[in-house]
């Protein structure tokens, strides 16, 4: 696809464009199904069985089971759809956001109270902000243990 994608050089950011949407179609439609209480119950009762009903990739299913939102997004998930998994789990959106950043929820909440993450160093891949890929492995915060 030769369409210009000027957003590819933004660190830690996946734009939900037509290509991502095609890739994540069934993953996102699975999430959408969790808007119905009876589907939430069935999912909670047997996650693997429920996921098997959807024509998703194995990677998408594993990413959902692991509640690894970054993997879900890489596999075509969109955060507004993925948020319905968190709602099913009874987790707050801030909790979900924190899990994508390698911070605990408390650390993330503290960062927000202090004014949020700075755009400084986080505008273009290759700068040295805290959202840069090369700083994700060795973040000062230990990843949350509760998933």
């Amino acid at each position: 696809m030769p369409l210009h994608k000027p957003y590819l050089d933004i660190p830690g950011t996946t734009i939900f464009d037509a290509e991502q949407s095609r890739k994540g179609y069934w993953l996102n439609q699975f999430c959408m199904s969790l808007m119905k209480a009876e589907n939430r119950e069935r999912f909670k009762a047997d996650e693997r069985a429920y996921l098997a009903e959807w024509p998703m990739t194995d990677e998408q299913r594993e990413a959902v089971l692991a509640r690894d939102l970054n993997r879900c997004i890489a596999a075509g998930g969109n955060i507004y759809f993925l948020a319905k998994i968190g709602a099913t789990d009874g987790k707050s959106f801030q909790y979900m956001a924190a899990t994508m950043t390698g911070m605990t929820q408390d650390e993330y909440a503290a960062m927000m109270l202090a004014g949020g993450r700075s755009p400084q160093g986080n505008r273009v891949i290759g700068e040295d902000g805290d959202a840069q890929p090369h700083r994700q492995g060795r973040a000062p915060h230990t990843p949350s243990s509760s998933t």
Partner: protein, 288 residues
Amino acid sequence: MAKITASVYTSHVPAIGAALDLGKSHEPYWQPVFAGYDNSRQWLRENRPDVIFLVYNDHATAFSLELIPTFAIGCAAEFKPADEGWGPRPVPTVVGHPELAAHIAQSVIQDDFDLTIVNKMDVDHGLTVPLSLMCGALDPARDRWPCAIIPFAVNVVQYPVPSGRRCFMLGQAIRRAVESFDQPLNVQIWGTGGMSHQLQGARAGLINREWDNAFLERLIADPEGLSKMPHVDYVREAGSEGIELVMWLIARGAMADVAGGPAPTVRHRFYHVPASNTAVGHLILENH
């Protein structure tokens, strides 16, 4: 003849709705957010319109990936608050204005905007949180919203979303449509969403206070110039979900000065960080 008398701009953070619904609005975390709207609630009581044309986006609620309209206008008689996974928000049903909505649809489609007409739709926090902020807590059974509301949903979830320029031009077409309606209605247009926030990936939590305030400044004084800003600037500077701010340009485009009238009066301006993951921005502009 109907007239657009004012425009209101505000974030529509779902956590704000939850805070209000759970009676947390006086907690220290939330108090400054709601305090920023005290004057606005008073202003709305004193300047109650007949209709609010409310621009917002659906967040994978009414529209899944099965069908994604770029612009959808709600022409129904009423719209129910959606169940977004925790049950519907306890707020009154939204009463529409089918006659004005159909008129606007007809007019702007003839003006080459390719709207989707919607006659059945539940409305999510994108629409109800701004109403709650501007009206305060209401009882879903006993109370009503102060006027009729025309929901106007913009796709800002799947790219490409409409350009700022397209939104600004649409606002101008909406003003022309409203002014050609032959009932003497007082109409407000609201633009919602934003301000800077990113809800995904390693950059989640991004806030750009400087950029947000420059956006408010330009929205007031140079909306035409602002409308030319490309999407990537929103994303890079204001976070991936900061793109919601293009919707503010629809409301701004509908103001009189854009069509050669006098500059609007800034009745209120407010900015606060954070509400959950998001910077809250708010503006009221009045026509004369």
